[in-house]
Symmetry: C2
Subunit: 356 residues, 2 copies
């Protein structure tokens, strides 16, 4: 991003294009450089961007270098500057004091060579895939966790509702986030194995599901980030977006409360500039129904019949090789999780696993 885009993102969560149209953009996509890199660039008007093996992957043309106002970026993106925000610690605090923007020229599609590149479809490739499948509605599900039967229930139920609305062939975009996640989230490679099992076991129907990796890092920036999650999927051909309680939220890093109001994500998304044509599908809460022995939509009139199994609880069970209640997750998927925790060294297990 150039500075004008960076400022519009921070202040307006949207960019005004030259033709006057407005597109949603809530999360800065910026590259930080330090004083030494700035000095080396000197008067150059373009720079090469290299991967971790020093291969040139892109050129940044007609560059612009501007100050990196870290505190302001953090405050306006997260609505807090409390220490301990995972993405801030990972990518901002120790980053350089300058940002470099320009016209990006990507030389060829980026490959990660991690065995998962076949899942990394570009927005254009995803749109092609949906046409090939003759989709007349595409509904997207953002996730960064293993798929349990509660997730599956709401995805299959969403499809049912879209069919009822008259769509002939609704396709699900199952779009796990593939960039940085915090250390206690399950790494991408294991999540992808788990998602494959969920399709193999028939919990989701491969005929009507496209699995692809969303290459963004997780910001845990709640109402600000959910706009990016939705906008990127619209760009990839989705026209329905499933959103639940406290999307992209987390606990406050310092205070004993959630960082965001659980309803703000959906409210902010529904009013966001540039997303006027988005169809938001509210996420019903699913929980384990002890009377049915399966995941079901929570019925507050018989609350005591339901068991909420949190991510923390799920991780604790998998780590200690215990089984969750029958019907919480397909057995093949659960086995992947147990294997993942088993693969960690004893020093890691029960503590913070190092992301792959």
């Amino acid at each position: 991003m150039r500075e004008s885009e960076f400022l519009q993102t921070l202040h307006f969560n949207s960019l005004r294009l030259d033709d006057g149209s407005v597109v949603n953009m809530s999360v800065p996509i910026v590259l930080a450089i330090d004083d030494e890199q700035k000095r080396r660039i000197g008067e150059s008007t373009r720079v090469a961007l290299v991967d971790s093996d020093d291969n040139v992957v892109a050129i940044l043309n007609d560059i612009e270098i501007y100050k990196h106002p870290k505190e302001e970026r953090i405050a306006r993106t997260w609505g807090t500057t409390a220490p301990g925000l995972p993405y801030v610690d990972q990518a901002i605090t120790y980053a350089g004091n300058w940002l470099i923007g320009g016209d990006l020229e990507v030389l060829e599609p980026i490959k990660y060579h991690d065995g998962l590149d076949r899942f990394r479809l570009s927005p254009a490739q995803l749109r092609d895939e949906f046409s090939k499948r003759n989709a007349d509605a595409v509904f997207a599900f953002q996730l960064r966790n293993p798929v349990h039967n509660g997730h599956a229930l709401l995805m299959t139920d969403t499809r049912r509702r879209l069919l009822e609305m008259g769509y002939q062939n609704p396709i699900l975009l199952l779009h796990p986030l593939g960039g940085y996640t915090k250390a206690d989230d399950v790494p991408l490679s294991w999540r992808m194995k788990q998602h494959e099992k969920v399709l193999e076991d028939g919990v989701l129907d491969p005929e009507t599901t496209v699995v692809s990796i969303f290459p963004s890092p997780m910001h845990y920036a709640g109402p600000t980030e959910v706009q990016w999650h939705a906008k990127a999927r619209i760009n990839a051909g989705a026209n329905f977006y499933i959103v639940g309680r406290d999307p992209a939220g987390m606990g406050h890093p310092v205070e004993k409360r959630d960082l965001y109001d659980a309803d703000h994500g959906k409210k902010v998304l529904s009013m966001a500039p540039g997303l006027e044509r988005l169809n938001i599908l509210p996420f019903k809460v699913a929980a384990y129904d002890k009377t049915q022995g399966k995941m079901a939509f929570f019925d507050p009139s018989r609350a005591k019949d339901f068991l909420f199994i949190s991510g923390t609880k799920m991780r604790t069970l998998a780590r200690s090789k215990e089984n969750p209640p029958d019907g919480f997750m397909c057995p093949g998927g659960w086995k992947v999780l147990v294997e993942y925790y088993d693969s960690l060294t004893p020093a890691d297990n029960g503590k913070v696993p190092v992301p792959a």
Copy 2:
């Protein structure tokens, strides 16, 4: 504001109206209540708003009470949560944990009975005044400080430029901020006396100047607040807005630097949603030209000829009854400032004067 307006203000600096149009709104206008007030309101659907003498001045109908997310409000409005932001200390930190919004029904124009109500023109009254004067351009100048000849120079020069552009009768809206200001700013009543002297002394032309009080409190929120300053003046009939370096800015309350990049205010304003039709007049920097013995536009090619007299320097001189260089401010205006500092008790003088 209702919660939907509050959230749009924080995230988008703009509101989408029912007809789909977008209006700029960067600063929340909210009313905080505490637990006890919330309890007393109970199930009522409307509440009376009273002034400091318990006279009912307005009714809030069809009310809505929602959480006051103070940290998030501060972070998204100021781009920092550092302790010591003046408006935050004044109006947010100790305010209630709830906000109340609704449909506002003002019973009659609010009076302050401080001898200045004749200057408190509503936007409609200001627009009437501009028509009466047959203005074909209205340029607004936001200020919260005494007017010195550098300010006057840029206002008269702006008029000259507008005449050159072909306007026949450009009118200046001199619009001092009348709400809360930080303790070391000169109080409104003294500033108004000073402004009257500036007009009496002919530094500004009363024929082409409308003086009115802008009733907003000062937030010192830089690029976020400057949008509000401009939008409110457009609403009152202005079509040109004069903006300088670091509008509504201040020093960082904790770190030794300015809180905002001095250029961000103008950049953000130029891109702000709902302000597309605003004409921004960049503010040339004026300084005291020692060779001419008057305020003039700064010429970097002979920088050493110029003296920058800061607000702090000006206050120090007035407090010690010294005179500034000839031509810095009209003598009548300077006398008002000296009288103001003289009126403070010895305990106050040189320290923090209590706002009137």
